[in-house]
């Protein structure tokens, strides 16, 4: 059972959930009748993509991408002890030769071990994506307020009737 748990659940559960969330969002954007619901669906769709990116950079047993003490050498040493207790995996992967830090390994006795720190790149990309999402949401809400001011409704069905029926000014 633990084997099944390890391979299917642990390895791919995050990616399954992001796909499900994305599809809920996409379905809402297309099928919901109310404009505000469409926008909530759009936001869910975007946060699901951000969830996908963040789960790329996750490493088992790794700490947050901030180097605690100013002196990297001291930092790496304390890091290894703190990890002995927590996860046995942390120990043997620390010994494993990493391409990143083999240069001048002995000179910097304890170069920072990349396996013990989460991958910062997806986090940077996602700061941008969150802020872009809010900017788009702001513009979309401004548009829906103006639509309400001009058409009197936010329901897609009623909007289409008014557009098709009355000769709305071009």
């Amino acid at each position: 059972m633990a084997e099944f748990f390890q391979t299917t659940i642990h390895d791919y559960f995050n990616y399954w959930v992001y796909v499900i969330l994305m599809m809920i969002g996409l379905w809402a954007v297309i099928a919901k009748n109310n404009l505000i619901k469409k926008l909530i669906g759009l936001s869910i769709f975007q946060t699901a993509i951000i969830l996908f990116y963040v789960s790329i950079g996750v490493k088992d047993g790794a700490s947050i991408p901030i180097l605690h003490h100013h002196d990297p050498a001291a930092h790496a040493v304390s890091h290894e002890e703190s990890h002995h207790k927590e996860g046995h995996k942390g120990d043997d992967s620390a010994a494993h030769k990493e391409p990143g830090d083999d240069k001048g390994d002995n000179a910097e006795a304890h170069a920072v071990n990349p396996d013990l720190i989460a991958n910062p790149l997806p986090h940077v990309l996602m700061l941008t994506a969150i802020v872009v999402g809010v900017a788009t949401l702001g513009v979309a809400l401004a548009l829906s307020q103006r639509i309400f001011k001009e058409f009197g409704t936010l329901e897609e069905s009623e909007l289409l009737e008014q557009l098709k029926g009355g000769n709305v000014d071009g």
């Binding site: 990616y15 499900i20 996409l26 947050i64 991408p65 872009v132 513009v139």
Partner: protein
């Protein structure tokens, strides 16, 4: 009804394709996946470079801030431009100047400018907000300044600073918040923010290096090496971002809550 069927059909196909792609992914949390540890064919993994070398290059412990503001600073500049463009677009779409008839004109609040203006139901909210807002603004400045060592930075600090003005608008009314942070000043603040960011970049060019190459600024910051110059200029850039985000976040709230009239509001 047809759109619901069409939507379900499109969604199922997209989901199936995505899951088909997922089957080839490395395991979740695997430290040696291509993204975390690079591929033999390609160059050495860039994220490992960031983890091991970024402290030497920029003297900034928070790796995310160093990658955000220095290595990929060009991305972040355009992200600030996105926020600025959103503020301008919302102004262009929603802002009205002539007070033509408003839909559902809300009952106008009594003109009191004090936080509670005598209305008993607002005493609790008014007094707490009056006490909390300076602390929020102080915390926002801390978040911007401390972005190098702890999670935070220009965006988060700017949003919190903007939120402090939004709280004033919610507790009292929009006019009180606009009295403290008028429309002309928050658009000017936003423009100054981008001017700071792009100014740092052009300053590097003027001094003879590439756009946004902060190392050259050691001539100005008189630091002993380019690393500290990078750290200082990153703080400067984060301040620019905070200015823009503060201005635009409050601009978006002010326009949305008052249907563009900047008068009677939420």
């Amino acid at each position: 009804m047809i759109t619901k069927v069409l939507a379900t059909f499109a969604v199922v196909i997209t989901g199936a394709l995505l899951l088909y792609g997922v089957s080839d992914f490395p395991a979740f949390g695997d430290p040696h996946s291509p993204a975390n540890a690079g591929v033999e064919g390609g160059a050495p993994s860039i994220s490992n470079y960031y983890i091991t070398k970024s402290y030497e290059d920029t003297k900034v412990p928070n790796l995310v801030t160093s990658v955000l503001a220095d290595y990929r600073g060009y991305d972040t500049m355009f992200e600030t431009v996105v926020i600025f463009a959103a503020g301008m677009a919302i102004f262009a779409i929603l802002r009205v100047f002539s007070d033509e008839d408003d839909i559902e004109p809300n009952e106008t609040h009594s003109e009191g400018n004090t936080f509670t203006d005598g209305d008993h139901s607002r005493i609790i909210v008014g007094t707490t907000v009056r006490l909390v807002v300076p602390v929020i603004q102080l915390f926002a400045l801390y978040v911007v300044a401390h972005g190098h060592h702890s999670p935070g930075g220009g965006f988060q600090g700017g949003v919190i600073l903007g939120a402090s003005f939004i709280i004033i608008a919610l507790a009292m009314d929009l006019d009180a918040a606009l009295a403290r942070f008028s429309e002309k000043s928050y658009f000017r603040l936003a423009s100054v923010g981008i001017l700071i960011y792009a100014g740092f970049g052009v300053l590097c060019q003027v001094l003879g290096s590439d756009f946004l190459d902060y190392g050259i600024l050691q001539k100005i910051f008189l630091t002993d090496g380019p690393e500290m110059a990078r750290s200082h200029s990153m703080l400067g850039v984060e301040v620019g971002v905070a200015f823009t985000v503060t201005g635009i976040m409050f601009a978006i709230y002010a326009n949305l809550s008052s249907r563009g009239t900047l008068k009677s509001a939420l």
